[in-house]
Amino acid sequence: MGEKHVDAVIVGAGWAGSILAKELTEAGLSVVMLERGAERTTQVEGAYPDSIDELRGAVRKRLFQNLSQSTVTIRNTIDQTALPYRQLAAFLPGEGVGGAGLHWSGVHFRVAPEDLRLRSSVIERYGEKFIPEGMNLQDYGVTYEELEPFFDKAEKVFGTSGEAYKVQGKIVGNGNVFSPDRSSDFPLPVMKDTFSASVFRDAAKSAGYHPYALPAANASRQYTNTYGCQMGPCNFCGYCSGYDCYLYSKASPNVNILPALRQDPRFSLIPNAHVLRVDLDSTKKKATGVTYLDTRTRKETSLSADLVILGAFQFNNVHLMLVSGIGKPYDPVSNTGTVGRNFVYQTITSSRVWLPSSTYTNQFVGAGGAGVAIDDFNSMNFDHGPLGFVGGSPVWVNQAGMKPIAAATGAGGGGTPRWGSAYKDALINTYKHSLGIDAHGSNMAYRDVYLDLDPTWKDAYGQPLLRMTFTWKDNDIRMNQYVVSKIEPIARAMGATKMNLVHLNPGQPFDTRKYQTTHLGGGAIMGENPQTSALNRYLQSWDVSNVFVIGSNAFPQGMGYNPTGMVAALAYWTAHHIRTTYLKSPGPLVQA
């Protein structure tokens, strides 16, 4: 008996997978989407008030990867032995239908155009010698102009709220002066500033910077998207990151795409299906389908497919490529191979500022995607020449809502007693009168920072774990210190009575025990050269042309912006080229 055959199989039910599933079913293909986690719908798990249970949500990590089944191992440097990441802390990959797209906050950026050609841009401005030894600085191989229609399309699906600066060459509003031209305005009006954001806006302006409202995939009012899916308006309840939004106002695959997909008879979704490998034919140049394990019955099933889309979380895509033998694994010693190369993160530090007790920031209020930022120290928007580093950071107040347990845990900042009346005073003071300011920075790629298969540790299914070799490098530490130094005068202008400014220090290694961000990137990057990228500019494997790998794994370096907007645009970009070119004549879209 032959295996079941479908036109396309998609691994992972997050944004990337759901976008591809929608596009490919629209193109008439039969699509099966496999998700290793559980089925999740807003009308069941997202129902108020259970959805905003902090203990169940953020503390017990309901929507995140179950590390008892599979995880990664981590080490800082090549000479160390990696150990498994056993407790979710530094980064929080999602699991279940919706993936990380269900638990994200909703900050929905496009891209700084120069980040797409950062290598070229740095060389043009500062010369090739400016690039530090060991830094694998690369271009994406795609331009903002090429991606613009897909950013636009994604925003109309996500119901993104924001304030434009330039639409079709005309300045239309108070948006980010550094942001590129747009073909149309945001589909929804900008989210309101929280008090803390408005204080930051005023102070940043008085310091001579250019504050703007973060583009938010939190609906500022009710909205019906391109697919007929409905969103409710955000009420700043603060339960965004780590939660499924009961108001249907934070965009997620579950709210914005899957309701329409589920009605399509060409589409089916199989939850609790952990994909073990992409099956290749004997030439290793063509995928024949995938083999997955039903995590409840432990039964293996093979699905045959003409087209395989990897839409899992960044490092899971890389892991699947490595265990399936797609492309050549990266070797940092010989500096050859591509899969695992350019593993990147973001360089983020969060500082806290206390205002006088007569001003109320009310930290329990918040929206994950809303806030006010400045881009004056992001991307190529400032002169790196005298500073001697590559990259930058937006700086923002993104009051996402401090939940009670988190507030009680971190109250007061460093140096505050952890018990007694001083602790209680600090807790109240922090909750009512403080605000957070983040430097949300880029992270460059380095020759000895990479992903490969761990030689020792295996997951619950007997496959080797993915190994991360990662630590902070001097370039990014100096970038972070520089940007954080710019926060202090802004905080003073805000009337700060106390500041807890946090930055990285030289030699400081990556610490997995403390949450930083889930914005991991690279490892299977896109580019123009098959020697230095695993994927071509259409996110198609150079080596196995019927495999497309969608996600932040494609980023050659970590950018200052949050990645989801870029991932969504790349997903629509890839889907467009599959529909218009690949399906007519399957094969490599770029000749190696």
Partner: protein, 437 residues
Amino acid sequence: MKWPLLAACILGSGLAGKAVAQDTDNATLEKGRYLAAASDCAACHSVRGKPEYSGGVSFSLPMGKIYSTNITPDPEHGIGHYTEAQFGRALREGVRRDGATLYPAMPFPSYARLTNSDIHSLFVYFREGVKAAPISPPKNGIAWPLSIRWPLTFWRWAFAPTPTKAIPRTSGEFTDPELARGAYLVEGPAHCGACHSPRAITMQEKALTATDGNLYLAGGAMVDGWTPPSLRQENRTGLGRWSEDDIVSFLRTGRANTGSVFGSMTSAVVHGTQKLTDDDLHAIVHYLKSLKAADQTQKPWTYDSTITDQLHKADLSYRGARIYVDRCAACHRTDGKGYPSVFPPLAGNPVMMQDDPVSLIHIIQSGATLPAMTAAPSSIVMPAFKHKLTDEQIADVVTFIRHAWGNNASPVSAEDVKRLSKSMPPPDMADDALSLN
């Protein structure tokens, strides 16, 4: 769910009546499929997880539980042996092939209006467009002697119209063809009156057509824990303030700027009205809009901002205000206007102002899920609060929303809520709303 359009070839050797497979054109079958949707057959004869139209939906009657029958063309378990005449007689007169009378849960007093041509199309559809399912629903749970069917025959003679009387009546009521079409659909196949018209002590609908008087569609008694509201033009409790677009949107997507579907009506929209053509939906609405208010004394509803102003000043002194703000206002807003058509308004919503608050109490106890519709794929949930709020708290918040924003309906007591816990519908299984492929 779409059944393949193959002509069912398994008609069985014992098939009585003329073979219809050959002389049927696709248009007749499709018309039959459409009429089956318009007649909402699936709401009573299909159960999720079982083959379509294979019966098994339970009806709780005072004398016991009955189950709907298998109406697939299976000759043994379904209606495969029915001739077209027998099929028509069952639909329009409530008489089974063996001569016994059907329980009037089957709305044959309404179906009596179906034209011969429509009966023919339905017959063709149920013979050829529906897949035979060889399963039987559970046995009816009515004990002897109440299970004896002949008294039903007297009921039928006394209260059910004959097709000869019913057909000209409905079609002759209106000269305007659109109104006539609307009347035909509402009074006939859609059998709206079965739930929305009041019934007498002997259980017959007090009015079966618009010309029977003002009680027609003036609001019915509780069905499965829900009280069907008036579909007439009462300003507060009827459709008096619903625009044509509102009602069309409600019937097509289950959601409108004026309110969203819940309770038993949900399946009528899912299986029935969402599948109707634009023309038919507009015809239905024109007809409904022509039904004058049964209660002419209602003072027109106007928005009253007193409560809104109080809430905006953090004045929570009105009974139930705090619970409303804590539990309800996120979606329905402090001004009661909601975020339609995602979250429905409570201000001016006829359900708030029904004399009988049972639907309101039950939706708070059991919750409701607005399912995905073809034209509106999002499924929106109203959570269940039975295990989060006490009877007293539910009474308080129901009293609050019945009072606020000009609704000015009567208060509700904790005893009312406690009593109604017994008739509380099972918490809505939102999974049912999810059509997983």
